[in-house]
Amino acid sequence: MNNNIGVEVEETVRDLRQYFKTGKTRSVTWRKNQLKALLNLIHENEDAISKALYQDLGKHPVEAYRDESNIPLVFFPAKGELLPEPLGVVLIFSSWNFPIMMALDPIIGAISAGNVVVIKPSEQAPACSSFLANILPHYLDPNAIKVIEGGGDVCEQVLLQKWDKIFFTGSPRVASIVMSSAARNLTPVTLELGGKCPAIFDYPSDFKMAVKRIVGAKWGVCSGQACIAIDYLLVEEKYSSELIELLKKFMRKFYGDNMMESKALSRIINKHHFERLCNLLKDPLVAASIVHGGSVDETNLFIEPTILLDPPLDAEIMTEEIFGPLLPVITVNKIQESIEFINSRPKPLAIYAFTKDATFKKKIVSETSSGSVTFNDTLVQFLCDTLPFGGVGQSGFGRYHGKYSFDTFSHEKAVLHRHLCLEIEPRYPPWSKFKLEFLRLAYRLNYFGLVLHMVLHMLGLKRHN
């Protein structure tokens, strides 16, 4: 069985490489046409996309539109001594939580840079994977952009091929496997991972608005199953109860009194993750810290938005990325302690901080390390096309969005033009003291010394061997 998949994948890559060699994908016209076609794809298939997302994740269509249909158009021509060129045949792995966006966003970068692409959508979002496999060939050049569907065995075969770039969105565990595979061919990779994204809650100017944004950034994005969702909150002990009450208030406002019935909340992607999340709550000390929610519905793979107050820091819920609708609220004595708390953990993809203290803001930026920092809001850094989107440390490396997408799929070739007329004799051996001294002076940009040196030499006033 593996042999067949292997042969198919090999053929696919071979065909793509042949097509790339024709140079077709390098023309500006071709790239623009593909990007226009992608826009049309999204506009004309909104319903189908919504449906697929609902099937895989129970996503509300508005969330789906907001998060998956906003595609920036990007194309940058080459100029000057740095010539961007496509890397060649690129492989994109997209994740299951934003299965359309995480596929199309990198594809845009790859196409604008002139590459041919294989996209391997996550098998954990099968409806979306199918959708992409069926619809992309109708809109995009099928010789240049191909979809390979499948699970672990297909991934294995895919990784055996030689790629010119691999773009991976997903978990650190799989990222390590992908990078190890890439090492065999020295294939450059971009790894967009996640982490425990903290939100620091200092007493901000608008308590209510901050809480609204927090609620939206936790449960409003795929029920917390997002790389930049807020993982946990940090707040000073004395504000914790006020914060929790306000959180509950807005949760009820957005999701109704009976949250288990809310249509505005995504469900958990599959049984495996559902069980993983339930297990996080099984620890008795963790269960005891629940101050809201905690109900689960196994049939519908639904977990109620849950708040915990100070669960034990060594419990899995505080050591692993949650990626779900559970929100631990961690209290500290002074909010400044948040910095040390965050720094003692792996670097996250995003840090959020609600504060009006300018000094504290500066400290957060200079003393913590993360993919990004956003003040007084959540998630919007994803929409800012002029900002690179990517991680550091355990949250990944490489970046995209806007021009960074184009760059990440390009090789910046240095080109130097010289003339055959201008010649400097001392460049060449045989070396002599004269030439050496000339070069020393030249290096120090000591033009006066240079001229003097040459004049004296010519006049025979300086003796050299």
Binding site: L186, E367, L387, F397, H417
Partner: protein, 488 residues
């Protein structure tokens, strides 16, 4: 001294782990992030280079029989310039980059802040053991990292001089040199680094990247390849020949990652080119080049044997048109030119990295681009021509780390150009600001206020909200107005 060698601690996993731990403590203290610290270290590097130039040149002579001129120009001089550039530009490099924000995040302000990765590992090569050790270290320091440098054991005099000088001049709590070979390197590679910068060959690069993958450590791999030179007719042949010679034998006797590896020219032009090369070679290195003090030797007997094997290949031995003399005791091979070697010979399939220059011929020069592109992407590619159309075609179709028109190797000295490979020739780039960037994480920072919160962001989702959101996200100003008035 014998006794000091016996007392030398074995650098094993435990030592490697302790080293990283120590450096991490220093890094976490924030010491390496200050402008003052960076300047002090860069100045220290400059000072040690200037004060100990003689010892550096002697070490390079010991390791490679490198001439004083080459050592000065290509290693010491380059390194000093790199230091000076970093000192001059550091403030500017460190400044956050303000970026524009759009209506989707209005109101907001944003910037990109450069921050150090943390504790980084620089593994250097043997052919430019001084430059390739310290040039990346400059980037690491400028960006504010703590660094471990592992110089190549194949250039032992330089390695030990680097250990001594960096120990004396640099801040030992954040910059360390670890000497050794495979065992020590393996111990280092098992640690968790925040970045690894490797200069060397493709085989070891794969080992480095695989080790990095275990910790999701980003890497820069500066490798090599077969850098081709396309030579057209109707050019100033004397100048072209000199520049080819300077880039080949004038760069550590061909043992350089961007040395011209082989030449492609037309069948008609080849004899003229060979003559020009012969003439200029004699000018440069005299009638007895095996004795020339201006040529580096072959680094060791392993590489000597490897190169002789390339020449002894049946398909190739009859194709020597110049040179071919050797002296194993002195590890010397004279500048050797070969004409019309078969494309499937060993000398045409692996990177030569030595003083042998094969010339392959084609009927028409356009064919050369296919020849080049059918091989792995090299670190550099060169063309000598006055034909603008050919230049254009070359630049457009040849993929390599860097290209030079009408010269060789010199792009290395232009610090505004990124220096790095693509495909088999490597990943990432450095020099000038690119060095600072290679060792920095570019953190996105977005400042928002509470003014202008849009309720459309939040559930419960209504059709009005949907319309408005669609307009805001892609429709432009007019669409927003229409949506507000209830039209989609």
């Amino acid at each position: 001294m014998a006794s000091s060698k016996l007392n030398k601690k074995v650098f094993d996993l435990k030592e490697a782990s302790t080293t990283v731990k120590d450096l991490r403590i220093t890094f976490d203290s924030g010491k390496t992030r200050s402008y003052e610290w960076k300047v002090s270290q860069l100045k220290a590097l400059l000072e040690l280079t200037e004060k100990h130039e003689k010892e550096i040149v002697e070490a390079l002579y010991s390791d490679l029989s490198k001439s004083e001129a080459e050592s000065f120009i290509q290693e010491v001089g380059m390194l000093k310039n790199s230091c000076k550039t970093a000192l001059k530009e550091l403030k500017h490099w460190m400044a956050p980059e303000k970026v524009k924000t759009s209506i989707t995040t209005f109101p907001s302000s944003a910037e990109i802040v450069s921050e150090p990765f943390g504790v980084v590992l620089v593994i250097s090569a043997w052919n430019y053991p001084f430059l390739l050790s310290l040039d990346p270290v400059i980037g690491a320091i400028a960006a504010g990292n703590a660094v471990v440098l592992k110089p190549s054991e194949i250039a032992p005099a330089t390695s030990s001089l680097l250990a001594k000088l960096l120990g004396e001049y640099m801040d030992n709590s954040s910059i360390r040199v670890v000497e050794g070979a495979v065992d020590e390197t393996s111990a280092l590679l098992q640690q968790k680094w925040d970045k690894i910068f490797y200069t060397g060959n493709g085989r070891v690069a794969r080992i480095v990247m695989a080790a990095a993958a275990k910790h999701l450590t980003p890497v820069v791999l500066e490798l090599g390849g077969k850098s081709p030179v396309v030579v057209d007719s109707n050019i100033n042949l004397q100048v072209a020949a000199r520049r080819i010679i300077a880039g080949k034998w004038g760069c550590n006797n061909g043992q350089a990652c961007i040395s011209p590896d082989y030449i492609i020219t037309t069948k008609d032009y080849a004899p003229k080119l060979v003559d020009a090369l012969k003439t200029e070679l004699e000018q440069f290195y005299g009638k007895n080049p095996l004795e020339s003090k201006d040529l580096s030797r072959i680094v060791n007997s392993n590489h000597f044997d490897r190169l002789i094997r390339l020449l002894d290949d049946d398909k190739v031995s009859g194709k020597i048109v110049h040179g071919g003399e050797k002296d194993k005791s002195k590890l010397r091979i004279s500048p050797t030119v070969l004409l019309d070697v078969p494309r499937d010979s060993l000398i045409m399939s692996e990177e030569i990295f030595g003083p042998l220059l094969p010339i392959i011929t084609v009927d028409k020069l356009d064919e050369s681009f296919d020849v080049i592109n059918s091989a792995p992407k090299p670190l550099a590619a060169y063309i000598f021509t006055n034909n603008n159309k050919l230049k254009e075609q070359f630049v457009k179709t040849v993929s390599a780390g860097g290209l030079v028109i009408n010269d060789t190797t010199i792009h290395l000295a232009v610090h505004t150009l990124p220096f790095g490979g693509v495909g088999e020739s490597g990943v990432g780039a450095y020099h000038g600001k690119f060095s600072f960037d290679a060792f920095s994480h570019k953190k996105a920072v977005l400042y928002r206020s509470f003014f202008g919160d849009a309720s459309i962001r939040y559930p419960p989702y209504t059709s009005t909200k949907t319309r408005l959101m669609k307009a805001l996200m892609g429709g432009g100003f007019l669409a927003i107005i229409r949506a507000l008035f209830g039209k989609s």
